[in-house]
């Protein structure tokens, strides 16, 4: 996959779901960690944990609501359950169970949704989680993380396991550009500034971060210095970092592989609107479901490219 990148080149690393699976297997050394999957353990990469700790792994079958209920009970009994499935089945199929069994009682359940976004490609819209960030953010107390690459997904997996309370991590299907190293500074709730700049700020997460870096190169060619923030944690959002960007740069563009409503864009806009109203533009899937197609074709068709970010930045700087 190219992700439409043309101005910067990155080494391609593992998919975030794969890095999660590896990290989860490492975390299995903690005997309290229990993994629950819903007949997709060969897709979520929880198989690695399953092979190492078969007694602490449950494939409950195609029964997402049941998975969440079981996790709720395990957490109430002091365990650290990790529930993995395709993000859309996990959040959409078990929304009320997450509400009643995880969020409302504020239990220590770790949700991991894989195959998020349209970059899954040919399987098509029924399998694509495009509203999952909004769903997860809607739950009081839920920590929501969308890592951009393998190393950060790995660090996030460990960090979320150590964090008390309900959490959701969103992972993707394809291998993605490497942006971090295994020892990079990466903290839940703290955005990473991957590029400095004082003219405009590009805020992104997931696969859109590499694209934002690519777009920043394009802006540099126009003489515009873009700051690029990896806003991996959507909730709790890094208010300070956003307010700083709003104060120090002229405009903000937010890019995410998600529908327009209720995701990163909305969350950042809330902070900007309250603290330092600033011109903003949004790059996302809009208000529509996608189709089947090759991942790169879909990203191009639904406007998730470096050039789309570049255009949005030029547009917002012009007004």
């Amino acid at each position: 996959m190219s992700f439409g990148l043309s101005r910067v080149s990155f080494e391609t690393g593992p998919a975030t779901r794969e890095a999660f699976g590896e990290a989860l297997a490492e975390a299995g050394a903690n005997k309290d960690v229990i993994v629950i999957d819903g007949d997709v353990n060969n897709s979520t990469f929880t198989n690695k944990f399953k092979d190492m700790y078969p007694d602490r792994f449950f494939n409950v079958g195609i029964a997402e609501s049941n998975m969440i209920g079981i996790a709720s009970g395990l957490a109430a009994a002091g365990k650290i359950p990790v529930v993995a499935s395709f993000s859309t089945f996990l959040l959409s199929n078990a929304f009320d169970q997450i509400r009643m069994g995880v969020a409302f009682p504020n239990l220590n359940v770790k949700l991991v949704g894989t195959h998020a976004g349209i970059s899954i490609g040919e399987d098509g819209p029924s399998q694509m989680a495009v509203e999952d960030v909004a769903q997860a953010c809607a739950f009081p107390g839920m920590t929501v993380v969308v890592p951009a690459d393998g190393p950060s997904a790995s660090i996030a997996t460990h960090a979320l396991l150590e964090r008390e309370g309900p959490t959701f991590m969103r992972c993707g299907r394809p291998g993605v550009p490497l942006l971090y190293g295994p020892a990079s500074d990466f903290q839940i709730g703290k955005a990473n500034t991957l590029r400095e700049g004082d003219d405009i700020t590009l805020i992104a997460n997931g696969i859109m971060v590499a694209m934002a870096l690519d777009a920043a190169e394009g802006l540099a060619a126009d003489g515009i210095q873009a700051r690029v923030l990896d806003m991996h944690t959507v909730k709790p959002i890094d208010t300070d970092c956003i307010v700083k960007a709003a104060n120090e740069t002229r405009a903000i563009v937010v890019a995410e592989e998600h529908l327009a409503y209720g995701g990163l864009g909305s969350t950042v806009a809330m902070v900007v609107g309250e603290h330092k109203p600033t011109r903003m533009a949004f790059v996302d899937i809009g208000d529509t479901y996608a189709t089947s197609g090759k991942p790169d074709e879909l990203l191009e068709h639904f406007g998730l490219t470096p050039d789309a970010i570049l255009d949005a930045a030029r547009r917002v700087l012009k007004d």
Partner: protein, 280 residues
């Protein structure tokens, strides 16, 4: 409403072979998809669409009194598309656009993009409830159309299937027939290892259904089961169709746990098509 009925067993066999052929070709061309899932359902859909069971008119796909077939196991889309093309809903050549950008033949069925698709599916467990909606509508409109729903066997692990089963049984929806494609495998493992389902017939019976188990690859048994289902009054009917995941292609049949969601590689395609032996 027309009803394609061929009494000729050999003609139905030919149809089944063509469906298998097109399932393999379209998924191999797409480079992804679920051929093994689709191959196990071939005889059931062949009899449904060509054995005088479903009443449909591809020229008027939305006619209110048509019978409905809902593929709840939406990842069997290549099988559904193959039979819809064979039935004349769209040209057979279009099958080769499966999963491609711009094609209405998406990875999972989309009722808003392709005539003949009765429900958008792909998140497992929901089709039976949707079928109940159609069955109630038929009753309310005093229409005699029937609704057929197919689920996978892994799919019936989903709680909603049993919520639906309880409802249909308690409402005595005899215009509703469920076919469970009992191929004994799901995505990651054998169904018996994940969640043993037996006794499945008893489960449905205890929910006030009539149920029976058949050989889902025997055209005669499938046809007889649909005749039986239409004769049942006062209860919905469940047909547990014993099938083989990947039926007709030895490569898939021999390692059923390895091929879920994987197309036959290009270099194996010719051999698979030869085994199927469709006369085109």
């Amino acid at each position: 409403m027309p009803q394609a009925r061929t009494e000729e067993r050999t003609e139905l066999e030919r149809v089944a072979r063509r469906l298998r052929h097109n399932i393999v070709r379209s998924t191999t061309e797409a480079g992804s998809g679920h051929p093994s899932t689709s191959l196990s359902m071939v005889e059931v859909v062949a009899v449904l669409y060509f054995g005088g069971v479903l009443r449909y008119d591809p020229q008027q796909p939305h006619q209110p009194d048509r019978d409905r077939f809902i593929l709840s196991k939406g990842h069997g889309a290549p099988g559904l598309y193959a039979v819809l093309a064979e039935a004349g809903f769209f040209p057979v050549e279009d099958l080769m656009t499966l999963r491609k950008m711009g094609s209405p033949l998406e990875g999972h069925p989309n009722m808003r993009r392709l005539a003949g698709v009765e429900a958008s599916t792909g998140s497992l467990g929901q089709g039976l409830s949707m079928g109940i909606g159609h069955a109630h509508a038929a009753r309310l409109d005093e229409s005699d159309f029937r609704t057929y729903v197919m689920t996978g066997d892994g799919e019936v692990e989903q709680g909603q299937v049993w919520e639906a089963a309880m409802h249909a049984g308690n409402h005595g929806l005899d215009n509703l027939t469920l076919i469970v494609d009992r191929n004994r495998h799901q995505q990651t493992d054998a169904v018996a290892k994940v969640q043993p389902l037996d006794p499945l017939v008893d489960k449905f019976e205890s929910f006030n259904w009539e149920a029976r188990e058949i050989d889902g690859h025997s055209l005669d048994e499938v046809a007889a089961a649909f005749d039986w289902a239409r004769g049942v009054s006062g209860k919905p009917q469940a047909i547990i169709a014993r099938t083989v995941k990947g039926k007709g292609v030895s490569l898939l049949e021999e390692a059923q746990d390895k091929w879920h969601g994987k197309p036959i590689p290009k270099e194996e395609e010719a051999r698979a098509l030869q085994e199927i032996g469709a006369e085109l």
